[in-house]
């Protein structure tokens, strides 16, 4: 039996309301809600479901297709993983997380522009509250201010589109956009781009990231950097690859902004010494890459980039947050040899870092290959060059961190006792399990990229005929 997708929103929302009444056991509701949603994801009915029993396109609708399926699945399962890693901290925010989960699911599934605004606000407000865990109110405040400006801009853009098209339904809007004069659509599209770049961490509006994620712990880091930002990127992808498809001249501007985000993110990551700062700037860079791909129309590679980055950053932010909590610093020079006593966490971290960089036999390699192939097939050489340049920087800073964290302080002539940090266990068994499973997933999907690609892209591939751009089996066949 296929279920109505609205359950993915109604169940966590209802549980959130119950959890304030029975606040003693609210953490249980969180666990039940997250598990229920992660399971239900695979049983929802595809197609556009109207809410309220009104005829489409006049009703608010939820859209479930291959694309939103993978988005919802990613978000829910990642949230479950974050809970496994930092259950104790997360349980204090049970109600906020449950309502936030409803917002995230609604955000990626909704088929209505204003409904998207409402769900974005739910998500944003829960993110503000979660970010206050960092005990730096001025950073959260900064986040809130940028978020509010973004939401005003988004609202303005959306209302202009409503004024022009007379509808808020995304499917109807996407049919009308090509028929409208470009001059009328530029301003709203640009405003919507600015509005959505706050959560998606794209350049003009990403000023909050440094303060919020730089002070993250093993709970706020993974949740804001992976769950929330992949949801925002999936929304960005849906809007800019399916609904607001622009003429080449306009989309080029957005691609350039996204590529600047990519390169400057990589450069800033290279300059940072704190692991969390490296990670957050790397996240900004990956968001820029995914955004550029989406706007160019390469949906499948972009989804691969998002998923790869989400799994990898989940492991890495969790590890970095824990390192900071245990050792009181996350400066990788001060953490020399920290992985020697945490072989499991260290290996997972290493695998994730290498995967994000795109080392062969890991999932990230498949993702990067698809990205490059998409551009080369199209005959573009400038963008792949930029991406490769960024990847070199990326490899440099990740390998630098990994070497420092594995080398037990015998880099000079004398092993100074203060150079190597002491042995401390950073993960308990269950927490370690979540991280290990994530790392195994990266390896497994790297070895079997075709099945992973099918899993993510659906049988036919995203958007029907496009499909996985590169098939590993065919590549092997060519080389033999």
């Amino acid at each position: 039996m296929m279920l109505n997708p609205v359950l993915l929103i109604a169940i966590p929302l209802g549980l959130a309301f119950i959890s304030v009444i029975f606040s003693k056991v609210k953490a249980w509701f969180l666990v039940v809600g997250t598990i229920a949603c992660s399971v239900l994801v695979f049983f929802v009915e595809s197609g556009e479901t109207a809410i309220g029993g009104f005829r489409l396109p006049f009703a608010i609708s939820l859209v479930v297709d291959d694309y939103t399926m993978i988005a919802v699945a990613t978000v829910n399962i990642l949230l479950l993983a974050v809970l496994a890693v930092s259950y104790k901290k997360a349980s204090a925010y049970s109600t906020v997380l449950l309502a936030g989960l409803a917002g995230l699911n609604g955000m990626v599934m909704t088929g209505d522009l204003f409904n998207l605004f409402v769900f974005m606000e739910i998500t944003a407000i829960s993110a503000y509250i979660i970010s206050s865990e960092g005990k730096k109110p001025e950073k959260s405040f900064n986040y809130l201010v940028i978020g509010s400006i973004g939401s005003v801009l988004y609202l303005l853009g959306l209302i202009l589109l409503y004024g022009i098209a007379g509808t808020l339904n995304m499917a109807e809007m996407s049919e009308m956009i090509p028929g409208l004069t470009a001059t009328a659509v530029i301003l709203p599209v640009f405003l919507i781009f600015l509005g959505i770049s706050v959560e998606a961490k794209l350049l003009p509006m990403s000023g909050w990231v440094r303060g919020v994620l730089g002070n993250s712990n093993s709970f706020t880091g993974p949740i804001l950097a992976t769950v929330y930002s992949s949801a925002a990127l999936f929304v960005f992808g849906r809007l800019f690859s399916q609904i607001l498809v622009m003429e080449k001249a306009i989309s080029t501007v957005i691609v350039i902004i996204a590529l600047i985000t990519f390169i400057s993110g990589q450069a800033a990551a290279f300059r940072s010494r704190s692991i969390r700062k490296v990670l957050l700037f790397s996240s900004i860079a990956q968001a820029g890459l995914a955004a550029a791909l989406f706007v160019t129309g390469f949906v499948f590679p972009a989804v691969l980039v998002i998923v790869n980055n989400a799994i990898g950053k989940f492991v890495m932010f969790a590890t970095a947050g824990r390192l900071d909590e245990e050792y009181g610093t996350d400066d990788y020079i001060g953490l020399r040899g920290a992985f020697c006593s945490n072989i499991v966490a260290g290996s997972a971290f290493t695998i994730s870092a290498l995967s994000i960089t795109g080392i062969p036999l890991l999932f990230g390699f498949y993702a990067k290959l698809n990205v490059l192939a998409a551009y080369l097939n199209q005959g573009t050489y400038f963008v792949p060059a930029v991406i490769l340049a960024g990847t070199v920087i990326e490899a440099a800073y990740f390998i630098r961190i990994i070497i420092r964290l594995w080398a037990p302080g015998r880099e000079g002539e004398q092993a100074d006792a203060s150079e190597s940090v002491g042995a401390r266990k950073i993960f308990s068994f269950t927490e370690g399990m979540a991280v290990v499973i994530a790392a195994l997933l990266i390896i497994l999907s790297g070895i079997l990229p075709d099945s992973a690609g099918k899993l993510i892209g659906g049988e036919k591939g995203l958007l029907g005929d496009e499909g996985p751009v590169i098939s590993m089996t065919s590549m092997k066949g060519d080389s033999e």
Binding site: I51, F58, A102, I122, I125, I129, G166, T167, L187
Partner: protein, 247 residues
């Protein structure tokens, strides 16, 4: 320096907006959308799911949504899902405020309010409360509805906080009211899903346009919204008023 930069940015932004919008005023087709049967026109004529003739106040029976106030029919029926999201935003905000504003403290150094002030506040309190309740129970007929009604309830509590230094409530009781109202709202949606196969479906008969018992689930939803908004804003107000941040 900062002010000059800010001024330039604001002027640039304002000019951009005004130019961008006036360049496309001729393409804004809202009035066309009305005639061509856009969403707004359908909502006004109440014929999204098929025509039921011209809607006449006090006569038409069982019209779609059945609310005389069209804004209400949009808020509590056509786009009720938005409203559910919106009360969730407020719910989260109130939760965040009570999480962050700190615990209640007895405010020892407050001046005692005078007898006249206190008595008149106590007299005004039920009047305001009733006005709020009236506003949201008549939301489908007259301007107003759940949001101003709920805010009115919150204002009445605010009045007591300001005028009566002995008045205090437990924030957790507002939390429970919020939770119950929100749960009922979701439950009404789920009932629609069970009865008619659509979440938040208007599964009750809609009655005669213009009578108090019309609109199907609209009055119920609006009362819940009113109670929820009222308890949420009261929660925010009392946290802001009484909370003391411990550093």
């Amino acid at each position: 320096m900062k002010k000059i930069f800010a001024g330039l940015a604001a002027v640039a932004f304002g000019v951009l907006l005004i130019l961008g919008i006036s360049a496309s005023t001729d393409i804004f087709r809202y009035e066309d959308a009305l005639t061509e049967g856009g969403a707004a026109a359908r909502y006004i004529a109440k014929d999204v799911n098929g025509s039921n003739g011209e809607i006449v106040f006090g006569e038409t029976n069982d019209a779609e949504t059945g609310s005389a106030n069209m804004v209400t029919s949009v808020i509590a029926n056509y786009r009720s899902f938005d409203t559910l999201g919106e009360v969730t935003v407020l719910f989260l905000a109130s939760l965040g405020v009570s999480l962050l504003a700190g615990t209640m403290v007895k405010n020892g150094k407050r001046k005692k309010s005078g007898f006249v002030l206190k008595t008149s506040a106590r007299f005004l309190f039920p009047v305001m409360l009733l006005t709020g309740i009236y506003i949201f129970t008549h939301g489908h007929l007259t301007p107003g509805g759940g949001f101003p009604g709920g805010s009115m309830i919150a204002s009445s509590f605010l009045l007591l906080y300001l005028a009566d230094e002995g008045f205090s409530t437990r924030i957790s009781s507002f939390k429970i009211a919020e939770g119950i109202a929100g749960l009922l709202y979701t439950a009404i949606g789920a009932t629609g899903l069970l009865v008619g196969g659509y979440f938040l479906m208007n599964f009750l008969p809609t009655g005669t346009v213009g009578s108090l018992l019309s609109g199907g689930i609209i009055p119920i939803v609006y009362v819940l919204i009113g109670l929820k908004v009222g308890s949420e804003i009261t929660g925010i107000v009392s946290s802001m008023y009484n909370g003391e941040v411990k550093v």
